[in-house]
Subunit: 400 residues, 2 copies
């Protein structure tokens, strides 16, 4: 665990990192595929994108039958850098514990793809991308996007890569929302699905926390109505506050107590002031500060909004089972006992919907005190569950 004051990339200043992060929006350190006005992406909002760029990473080799592809869908503030060093932060990929040679998602066996989501800021079209129609960053001129839009963009990428069906789609949190959306929108293209720490809709409380974050960004005068990339400035303070609030929801009360308790930071006594006396304060400030170096504030608005709008049952006449009618996909739903952002009850609602649709579904609730972020951590039961599920699902597909 890192605490305040530690730079994410040795020798890099915050300004260097920010510039580097901004460059990633148009010219990412990842392969890209571009679609022009002849292939517009129709959006759930009723508008369309005439230019779509998708940045992605792959790991392993696609087999001759093209039957071993696994799509990983990333969470709100993550990106396509699942298994390689991050181009901005210099840190290892966010799921290297799970994805790689011999790992549960074994790149000796599977061809793994992860693309930056639509609305993101690491190379797929998002508010920080240059709008080809104006030559300036989209900012708030980008239409609001949905999880459904993200998934349709990913399907474009798969078409481009010549992959008809996915052996599996996997992801946690917002990634898990995309997994469910994939299974609903493209049932014939999804052989198996692993939604982790997710739900079929965003709850009132989750919308509330996202709204706090958005208000924090928009309250920052340097946000400038979303035009900071063209007019100068950066709503760093607002975005840091948003990140701090969100970060609390990713952990559990127990984990915070275990890691930080009421321990003081580098001091024996409280200072009777407003410095970061407590370790938890220092940790949160660090989370806020490092986040703004690698993430675009408008992108944060768009992606939180996409999550808020997510309500799969609503899109299928109010009944979740309708989203999975006649599905042949094999599902494995995973939740964590201490996750209060997507608690087990929300994951179980997904399982109930799948059961009502007659789908093949297994459900695992993993006992951990690490909260929502457990899906990103070294959780042996998570690893063995995913390994076992993929091995079992792969057998009828000849991926033994």
């Amino acid at each position: 665990m890192t605490l305040a004051g530690e730079s994410e990339v040795a020798g890099s200043t915050s300004a260097d990192l920010t510039t580097h992060a901004q460059n990633q929006a148009d010219t990412p350190s990842s392969p890209v595929v571009r679609f022009g006005p002849d292939e517009p992406l129709l959006l759930d909002s009723g508008t369309r994108l005439d230019h779509l760029q998708i940045a992605y990473q792959t790991y392993g080799e696609l087999n001759a039958e093209k039957s071993n592809a696994i799509l990983i869908c990333h969470a709100l503030t993550l990106d396509q850098h699942v298994g390689n060093v991050h181009p901005v932060t210099g840190k290892p990929g966010w799921w290297t514990t799970l994805v790689g040679p011999g790992k549960p998602i074994d790149t000796d066996r599977y061809f793994v793809i992860c693309s930056n989501v639509l609305g993101g800021c690491l190379g797929t079209t998002g508010p920080a991308s240059t709008n080809p129609a104006t030559g300036k960053p989209y900012g708030l001129d980008l239409p609001v996007i949905t999880v459904g839009d993200m998934v349709r963009a990913q399907a474009r990428l798969l078409d481009h890569l010549g992959i008809e069906t996915l052996f599996s789609v996997a992801g946690g949190s917002m990634g898990g929302m995309q997994v469910l959306q994939w299974a609903a929108t493209y049932p014939e293209r999804v052989f198996s699905a692993l939604p982790i720490a997710a739900g079929a809709r965003h709850s009132s409380q989750n919308i509330a926390f996202h709204e706090v974050g958005r208000q924090a960004v928009m309250a920052d005068p340097e946000w400038r109505g979303g035009r900071y990339l063209t007019e100068g400035g950066s709503p760093r303070k607002g975005l840091a506050v948003a990140r701090m609030a969100a970060h609390i929801t990713y952990l559990s009360e127990q984990a915070l107590h275990r890691k930080f308790g009421r321990n003081l930071q580098d001091r024996d006594k409280p200072t009777f002031g407003f410095d970061a006396d407590f370790q938890i304060e220092s940790y949160l400030r660090h989370q806020g500060m490092t986040f703004v170096d690698r993430f675009d504030a408008n992108s944060y608005l768009y992606l939180t909004r996409a999550m808020d709008y997510f309500d799969l049952a609503e899109d299928y006449g109010g009944r979740l089972a309708n989203a999975f009618r006649n599905s042949q996909t094999r599902f494995c739903v995973i939740s964590f006992t201490s996750d209060w952002l997507f608690p087990t009850v929300e994951n179980k609602a997904v399982v109930r919907g799948l059961n009502a649709a007659g789908a093949s579904v297994s459900f695992v609730e993993i006992d951990t005190d690490r909260g929502h972020d457990a899906f990103l951590l070294d959780e042996p039961e998570l690893f063995s569950t995913i390994r076992g599920f993929l091995s079992s699902a792969g057998r009828p597909r000849g991926l033994g």
Copy 2:
């Protein structure tokens, strides 16, 4: 329940309310008592206040024996206006459901006192008060205060009123912290004590949420290093964000789901934008906006800090029971099942400490889905518990 756009006082603008609120700091609509440099208040930080003003309200009559006084300690963003119309918002007192003639805290029987806490902004010395040494508002020149300091200030008020012992001290949340502090600091002055939805310390997660709120205030350029009252401007946006984040913690996931769910606000379909599409967003924005009309931003910093520093066991050699050694006070500890800010486990830790000290204690956990704020709401079991406890405790004191 009120939603966005509704003015708290008909015909009053936000600017009117803010001016009115600022005036309350020095010249409140409440009786005040002032102490000068001949009677300084020594603070836990090692500094002292040479000038102390305390604003308070009373209800009912002090009996001849002075044996029927109940001190109510208020929570973070409340004030002394327990049972009368609020001078700024025009709303009823915050505990009129519980305090009044014939109510559980029966003003026909008891003499009820509530003072604005030290560090507050409704007439007791706080950062918005004029510093007599400079003629300007204290701002951050006010020393950081603690729950212990608040209680010592209240004891000064009781001395002034000629009340030696309190029949009871009652309060919820930060008010409950003061109740516990009263029982620890002045055991001989506290006949009975009612800490509600509180704890003997602030948890890591609670400190985390407070730190988010403080950072939101301090990120607002209009905060001006705490000097907005002298230099102009007001960190309204930052304070509103702080309030929004905190407000989520006062409710429960279930209550939010029940009250708001994913309902849209005055529209049939989402707008695919960043307006308040959802009722929960509109509600939170309203909570933020109305709060800044009545509360001082620096006061919010000071009071959250006081709560963060609260750790009664730490002040008594690391063992909570030591705080209540030989206590003759009768305690009634009350928690709510859906309170995740001060969950039952924290209240039970208080009960265990009291048991270990051999104190007289009863404990009631009230089943409700309304979260932390249940102590402010119409909760019949809360009312009957308090009524019963006070009646029973009053008998040996001749208050039958």
